[in-house]
Amino acid sequence: MSIGDRKTPWHLRTIVHLVLLCGGAFFVLPLVWMVATSLKPLDQTLQRPESLRSVLLATGYTATIDGNDCDVTREREIALEPNDVLYIVRPKPTADGSVPFLAGELTLTFGPDLWRKIPSFTEAELAQMNAPVTAAVKVLADKANPYDPAAGVLHLASGRSVPASIVREVRRPADGAPLWLVRQWIPADTDTKGVSSPFVKVDRAWGILRADELRTGPKIIPQNYPVALRRVHFARSLANTLLVCLMCVGGTIVSSVIVAYGFAFLEFPGRNTLFGLTLATIMVPFVVTMIPVYLMWRSVGWVGTFKPLWVGTWLGSAFFIFLLRQFFLGLPKDLLDAARIDGCSELEILWNVVVPLSKPVIAMVALFTFLGAWKDFMGPLIYLSHPKQFTLSLSLQSFASQHGGTPWHLLMAASTVFSLPLIVLFFFAMKTFMRSVATTGIKG
């Protein structure tokens, strides 16, 4: 990896590529993980991925049981015993909207955890959530207790008996009907053909998983996006963010260009002192001036409005003034003198000569102001209080903090949408971005 050489030995180049790819993975993988998570169902974001494939892509399980197509959810976390994996089967509604009843002989095996996870629900919710469960429960509930604890068997509607053990007896919250949550044990030698269980216990020793019933395939849930966008009030937040961004961009460009022109081409006493002072203020951290500035806006009565977020930008920004002035000083002086001899006023020179020549650097300033305003979090946090005014940053943060950070799939979907405009902008204006990096050598 000889530096600055025109020719790098071939084998070293390979090593450099390997190292750079590893480095690149560190920068890209989080973004990939963000998008991947945003397309997963909730249940597969709550558990540790099992393989690299399941990091990137959720696995969907489907099954056909007794001719009914079913959605299957894999529940590793609510198994009753270690090494249990539960598959929860929910038949898909048929064309006429009814939920197909599985077989008459249904047993429930779910762990206490599931009940804890759904602490309260209405009948309607229950029906919507997993209709077959209610149906299944009804079968048991309508009969006399089908469970014979002495024999440890469950008498099924068909008249057959299956080994089973009761997990617990509960009452359905909605109507108080007794439900028996029953765990069914089926020995490996049992003929499982006729037994359809909505919760198949998968255990190598028992060998119940029937390959012809369970199918796996990739599962992508784009429906997360509309849900997530609704939850962060996307349209409203986007409008707020754009409003602030546009005002900031406009203000910074107009004021900084004018001020930089003044510093670059006009003469007045104290110019250099003022410019030095301007440079020094780049060093003043936001935290130091935050409180008095807040108090000032409060005394004007602007706290709780967007104004504190953008009004300041119409008064110029030290760093951009510096940047523009440096650029202006590099412009050919003759042009300006010629315009002055032609009798142009300073504003006309600025508008007709300097601005057209400085389009790239002005674009850069606009881009970085936009980037800064779009990403800003602390400003909106301090000045905005009403959810109707929240910018995207604030909406996303409040959505995350409200829910204790659990609906990761929705959070990642909203995050993806929130970052996308900047990334798209970057690919359209890559040249401007990269040039700015090269010329300023400073943070954006």
Binding site: H11, T37, L46, V55, I291, G316, L392, G405
Partner: protein, 395 residues
């Protein structure tokens, strides 16, 4: 007449910079002075400030939570800034090795910079999630599972054949002489008279692959020397919720939670690498050519040409990073809320909380003032230290 012309010119000048004079007065200098004054005041909400002298500063001296915040910030700066500079410089120098796909890597390194702060925070909260996060998945794959390396590497390679190759530690035996034959000057010149013979390239490639593969059994062996009960006891850190110090047993070491934030800050280092790269490419080639004529090695050229030539940029970025470290706010605020046990409560967050949660504006201003003094002091130190080392070329 001349006088009025000059007056007119001056007036035009002042008119042009008028917005900035207002901005400077009302948004920077004024508030700056006001903050200094407020720091000497008791300032209850909705009342006027009352002058109380240095009482706020006296309180600061004895406030353990402020000391903790300062300590956390210092630890963060001490770890994140050097690591960031080293990482960025390494990436930039690798990129500068005139390889193909430079712009591709540049885009990749730059991408994280485009992600909004809030998204960065939430995304990394999810990555650091102790149970289902990406990081603990990778770590679990590396250390905790039984036959750990088959897991990760065969996911990647999906090559069960590789197991056979990898198990043969013979890779080392093959790779070492091959690489020596291909690269070690005296030997290579004898073996491959032609500079870029295809055979030599193939040998190189084979040697590199062999070394990469051979590294795996070494790692594996290292893992297997752990007793099984150690492996079972292995617990991946809880990251953001984990207040244990790392390295364990050292009192002032950063906690895992703070390390999480440090690791996260490395994610935005790519953009700095792009900046360094731009500056590296400005280094005149003649300097390297001259060094080569003098017989300088790669290391010599790096130390004596590259680093001096871009030292002003490094200095500038270090100073900005110091200022930045003392303003870290959004990440801990969103990700940890300062916890566990104040281990990620940064000074900026402390100021925010004192001002807007506890409404102690005077006290918060005093903290901000101290913060400012520290920043200036550290900046001056950075300039002083670098005075000997930073090279400003002609300009």
């Amino acid at each position: 007449m001349i006088g009025s012309g000059r007056f007119r010119r001056y007036a035009t000048g002042y008119a042009f910079i008028l917005p900035w004079i207002l901005g400077l007065t009302f948004l920077v200098a004024g508030p700056f002075l006001a903050a200094g004054y407020f720091s000497l005041c008791e300032y209850p909400p909705l009342k006027d400030p009352m002058y109380i002298g240095g009482a706020n500063y006296a309180e600061l001296l004895g406030d353990p939570s402020f000391h903790r915040a300062l300590g956390v910030t210092m630890l963060y700066a001490a770890a994140a800034i050097p690591l960031g500079v080293i990482l960025a410089m390494t990436l930039a120098m690798l990129l500068n090795a005139r390889i193909r796909g430079q712009s591709f890597y540049r885009v990749i390194f730059y991408l994280p910079h485009l992600v909004p702060t809030v998204v960065v925070a939430i995304l990394w909260m999810w990555i650091f999630n102790a149970k289902a996060g990406l990081l603990n998945f990778v770590i679990g794959r590396l250390f905790a599972a039984g036959d750990w390396w088959t897991g990760l590497f065969f996911d990647v390679a999906a090559l069960k054949v590789g197991k056979f190759v990898i198990h043969g530690g013979a890779c080392w035996l093959l790779a070492a002489p091959a690489l020596a034959a291909a690269t070690w000057g005296p030997l290579a010149r004898r073996l491959w008279p032609r500079e870029n013979s295809r055979l030599r390239q193939l040998v190189c490639l084979a040697a590199i692959m062999a070394i990469v593969l051979a590294a795996l059994p070494l790692l594996s062996a290292a893992a297997h020397t752990l007793r099984p009960e150690d492996v079972r006891k292995f617990r991946s850190p809880g990251w953001l919720t984990d207040g244990d110090p790392m390295p364990a047993g050292v009192g002032f070491a950063p906690s895992w939670a703070l390390w999480s934030l440090i690791i996260m800050s490395m994610w935005s280092v790519g953009q700095m690498a792009v900046i360094y790269l731009a500056k590296l490419q400005d280094v005149p080639v003649e300097l390297y050519e001259a060094a080569e004529i003098d017989g300088a090695s790669w290391w010599r050229k790096t130390v004596s040409v590259t680093i001096p030539m871009i030292s002003p940029v490094i200095l500038f970025n270090v100073v900005m990073a110091i200022i930045g470290a003392f303003q870290v706010f959004a990440e801990p605020y969103i990700m940890t809320g300062g916890g566990p046990e104040d281990k990620t409560r940064f000074v900026a967050m402390f100021v925010y909380e004192q001002a807007f949660r506890y409404h102690r504006l005077g006290y918060a201003s005093a903290v901000a003032a101290v913060l400012f003094v520290i920043i200036i002091a550290l900046t001056l130190v950075a300039f002083r230290v670098s005075k000997k080392h930073v090279h400003y070329s002609g300009r």
